[in-house]
Symmetry: C3
Subunit: 337 residues, 3 copies
């Protein structure tokens, strides 16, 4: 894929070489995200950060990433749009809004809407979630986190052993992750969920076609033995017919220190796309795991910034110019206050 | 008018020479709006982009224009203001908010409110719409679009022939456009509307006083013959007593390819203040016009950025310094992806 | 206190020497706030301006202050947060959001929430109000205003005579002001309120312990004689059981020109934390005081920007580097249009 000028709409666009390229640019951006340096490579550029559905952290993460490259951000945070209410087509909205910025990040509640918007946009569009369909930067930051975490043990994504835990039926993040790890060799997946929330057949078919070995279980203890990564997800309450239905599954697969210690290899990494449900009845990841250095969930969120910076840099074709405008940070940096 | 330090509240402030000056600055800003260059002339300046009524695209257009000059933007997007609810006067709000920025853009639902706000503001205020009253930058960008479009045919605004189509009774954009073209010579206007939505007498009186020749018809085909510009507007549903009343008029004056081809001079330009209603029952401009190079509606929206940049530059008195901070754009520009 | 890298959560953190240090930095920033110069000392830094409760002017004031130092601002203005609704703990929210910025300003409706958030934040947090609990920058800007106003008469905060007027029971601003002036010598306070809205005992106890002399009255005319400052506050309607209860007190202690002239020393300064209730039934400060040069309420609001700039500069440790990036302002400054 030639990133420069491209829309980023789906994880399906990415071949293995594209991911390698993205991750290599991302690595070079870490020192900027960590405030060892600043760059102004996108000084003068404008991001249209258009959220037609609320998603505070994804919105802030994209906006901050653009700021870290030196650019400005204009935003929509309104759930509804007055213009759509007045009968404007999505194509018109795209034509008009794309006149206001150099690149657009779009979240929209309707499946397929971002693709349609992109067709009429005059600037590149990054999909930040269209309903339950796609949210490619999430899968990319997940894979980047996996890579960074296991690299420290001398491993790489080829040969990865990963347990996917929770609502595998409705979880968009898990679906995209299955797609993206399918690009790698010798991957083994443990699918851990209640029978009613199993991974849909289209995804298990994909795993088979891609030579990913997998097994399914509803037993958390069994599933998390002998893996590199445990990827836990939230029960997507909002997708169930009734709250009652969703409640049945809450807390079923709660991971805590005791279960972790008794069953996991040392240094098994724990991930979660966040937000995690920390209420007593759900408790997806018990608070007694909080001090565990293998709990990678906040490093994972931080990696969102790095991956989004890399996407912006590549799509706007400035990945080779970042160092040119680099400067030392002159304020007190206290990331670990 | 001395733009520097002035409030921009109404189209009535503008004489023909003011418009010429504004348009001349606007022309110089086109290469910045089109990302051939960037400027930082307003680096360090802050715009207070205060929208007490939602208007996504006008808000983003003003904000992006200020960013394109290098300035920062602080925003209000809330429909209500907690302070007004606590009994604060508009004068106090103006005093306080004008301490936070170098210039304010204000949209407010109440007619006359922006004028009153400006009286207590300590920085210049640009009216971005006060109810059904004024929205001067819309009329200015419309006239700028007319000028740019017909210039290509060797014509200028003196001698303009324009058809105004749709809801001429409630359409604020049409009213302001009548005022502003009245400053020019030998203008001819075709007013095309259902009898109940005719241009109000105060505006036809103005046209008479200003020696603008005009005629009224309810027949679209007749009205659009032999004009340079067709300016179509939306039925302002929200102004009617009932939805039923508004519905009667929807779709009555729908322009499509067949009607256009059968009646218009070659290269008749089509404009619309947007959003246009693209639903089947309204269809103000049929989608079969989409590929027509004379459909200027998105160029018109783009011109909003240029005109707003010019207003900011003139009101803040930096119109002569823009080139000084100019720099090449270093990212991949893909306006026509 | 070592400001650098610290959270600013409560006025209780401040000793007299801290306040002196803050005010000295603030004085150095006045010329930047007044647009005589610009500085880019925080160019590349990001503020997370997180308002989980609406407060337009406090939000804009903090955001503008950060822009004035050259930094960028990402914002939350939503009353609710989708993530908290999904069961995310405040600790998780803090961990994630603190990965997106260099410093966070947080307003939150729950008492104590900002403290808890700060414990999990990886960057410094400034409390912009947690329910009825703390809002330290308000007390600091109030004291700074007092100091600046009476300095012109050759006085300083030691020896200050101040009347506090209105709802002294629920007014958070008044409570913090009592705390902060207790750090100074020979302060005299007149507490003017209806008996039911008297200053709570914990605060009068503090005044006693701190050797602040005070007296209580419900008579406005008596109380405002012979003071340097009259600090008027709003009846906090939203804290009363019923609107009826609150109404009894509205307008009881309305200050106007006649009362002021008949009772006050010449040049007695009038302050108010704003918004003031200007409706007829409340009329906390009559509009006939509008032209009085001792009405300091808008200078007080302006000082909010200066104090917040000083807090940012100190917490991020750049207070010594501001001049380095200073530059002349090149646009037309019209603060007194």
């Amino acid at each position: 894929m030639d990133f420069s000028g491209s829309h980023i709409l789906s994880i399906d666009q990415f071949e293995r070489s594209d991911i390698e390229k993205l991750f290599s640019v991302a690595e070079g951006l870490e020192s900027y995200a960590n405030k060892q340096k600043i760059t102004k490579v996108l000084d003068g550029a404008i991001l249209g950060n258009m959220f037609f559905e609320p998603s505070t952290r994804t919105r802030i993460s994209f906006g901050a990433s653009f700021n870290l490259l030196g650019g400005s951000v204009r935003e929509i945070t309104e759930a509804g749009s007055s213009s759509l209410a007045k009968g404007e087509s999505l194509a018109d909205t795209a034509q008009v809004l794309s006149g206001y910025s150099d690149i657009i990040v779009l979240r929209h509640p309707e499946e397929g809407s971002v693709q349609r918007f992109a067709e009429s946009s005059r600037v590149p569009v990054i999909n930040a979630g269209d309903g339950s369909n796609e949210h490619p930067s999430q899968a990319l930051l997940d894979l980047y986190t996996i890579r960074e975490e296991i690299k420290q043990k001398g491993k790489n994504i080829d040969g990865l052993k990963i347990a996917l835990v929770g609502d595998l039926k409705y979880g968009r993040a898990v679906h995209s992750l299955c797609k993206i790890v399918s690009l790698y060799d010798d991957v083994e997946i443990k699918l851990i969920s209640p029978p009613e929330l199993k991974l849909p057949k289209s995804y298990t078919d994909l795993l088979i076609t891609s030579n990913v070995s997998f097994s399914e279980t509803e037993n958390l203890e069994d599933g998390i033995k002998n893996v590199d990564i445990i990827y836990v997800t939230r029960v997507q309450e909002e997708r169930f017919q009734s709250n009652q239905d969703a409640k049945k599954y809450k807390g079923l697969l709660s991971l805590n220190k005791e279960i972790y210690t008794a069953n996991c290899e040392p240094n098994t990494v724990i991930m979660h796309p966040l937000p995690r449900d920390s209420r007593k009845d759900a408790n997806e990841l018990d608070s007694d795991l909080y001090g565990n250095p293998n709990l990678a969930i906040f490093r994972q969120a931080d990696n969102g910034v790095i991956i989004r910076m890399a996407l912006f840099a590549l799509v706007l074709g400035v990945e080779g110019q970042i160092e040119k405008t680099a400067r030392e940070v002159n304020w007190h940096v206290s990331r670990d206050l």
